[in-house]
Point group: none
């Protein structure tokens, strides 16, 4: 859930924005002037700040500057002024986007999505799967078993990747074969036996009696964490 701080001195705009944003699933906090905006931003971290430039107490650009002293939160500026000087100043002070009033709500929402998309793109997913005997870090492509790194060949990794991404789910042989080797190899069930044995030898405590890479006879395989 993304949280947004809306800063505007016009109660109508604040209220309208808050309702619209909440309606789209965002968490909204509001502020009516610069000081309380800075205070609110310090109080609780937000994902985006929507900032009107025409505030009663502090100049909008100053708000941006003071916010940027300690925070890298994306700032989307609203303004009634069309002059390009204001835009340049605000953007160079550290704003990320600038919309002039009157603006379309769908445009505002689209620009919000663009900003948020960029911010979550850069965040690395920490997708790690853990079992009783080994750990798979999908982002790093790293497998650890009792403190030791386990090396995988490309084919081994491909199979492991599919398996751990579908825990407790039955993967048919054809599914594995077509995804790893291509549709032309859909009948080479031999390959699976060889590589499944390899995976178990590397990852299972007792390769003879596997606990994580389970064979479903006649159907396929199942990975249970």
């Amino acid at each position: 859930m993304n949280s947004i701080l809306v800063v505007d001195d016009d109660p109508h705009i604040v209220r309208a924005l808050a309702i619209t944003l909440k309606g789209h699933g965002y968490t909204v906090t509001t502020a009516m002037d610069g000081e309380s905006a800075l205070h609110a931003a310090a109080q609780r971290p937000v994902n985006v700040v929507i900032l009107d430039l025409g505030l009663p107490d502090i100049d909008g650009t100053t708000v941006i500057t003071r916010l940027r002293e300690w925070s890298a939160v994306p700032i989307l500026v609203l303004s009634a002024r069309h002059g390009s000087n204001d835009k340049v100043e605000a953007l160079d002070a550290g704003a990320d986007d600038y919309i002039t009033k009157p603006f379309g709500l769908d445009e505002l929402l689209a620009r919000l999505r663009a900003i948020l998309r960029r911010n979550t793109d850069s965040r690395e997913e920490t997708t790690t799967i853990e079992t009783s005997s080994f750990t798979v870090d999908l982002a790093k492509r790293q497998i650890t078993k009792s403190g030791q790194d386990v090396r995988m060949t490309p084919t081994e990794w491909n199979i492991l990747d599919i398996m751990v991404r579908n825990p407790d789910k039955l993967i048919t042989q054809q599914q594995l074969l077509t995804e790893v080797w291509g549709p032309a190899y859909a009948k080479e069930a031999n390959y699976l036996r060889v590589y499944m044995a390899q995976l178990r030898r590397k990852l299972e405590v007792e390769p003879g009696t596997p606990r994580h890479f389970i064979t479903e006879p006649g159907m396929g395989y199942r990975f249970v964490p």
Copy 2:
């Protein structure tokens, strides 16, 4: 030096933009239609794409979509259309900003700075990476090995940069090739071998048995501090 790809079918605009941007220290490449734009972007990685929506061959939104299939390069859209539908479509397709013509050049430049700032800001957290045998200062672009400065060629630095920014993470060959040389070179795994050998010769204590630049056969490379 930041490189920009300018895409517009109006020669006057292309020319004016190119001159202005070059005057501000950017490296500029140009394209007149969608296909050549995609081709140009694939040929050599750029830091920003400035894209006009009204292209003769492909719809602008399609260009964005196809670019986003393999690249995360920031896209700044220019358009003569003021309709908010166009804006929403372009932004949701993956554009980062949207300016309607006619626009002020200083506003364009300010928005460019904002985009570029955001792209470098987010990575500024750790400026120096240290290993047992050498130190990399990302901000200064300086490498030190046992008190001695180590010189790197541009390509060598690009690779090193990607590697040290993703410690312990496996970087696939395609990832390196597309980010350093562009997607058109995704199959030239030869280059990687040559340059990885170069990096190891310059940075590893024993280039023959690397401890920091590890090869994951068939998959890619991994940097371990």
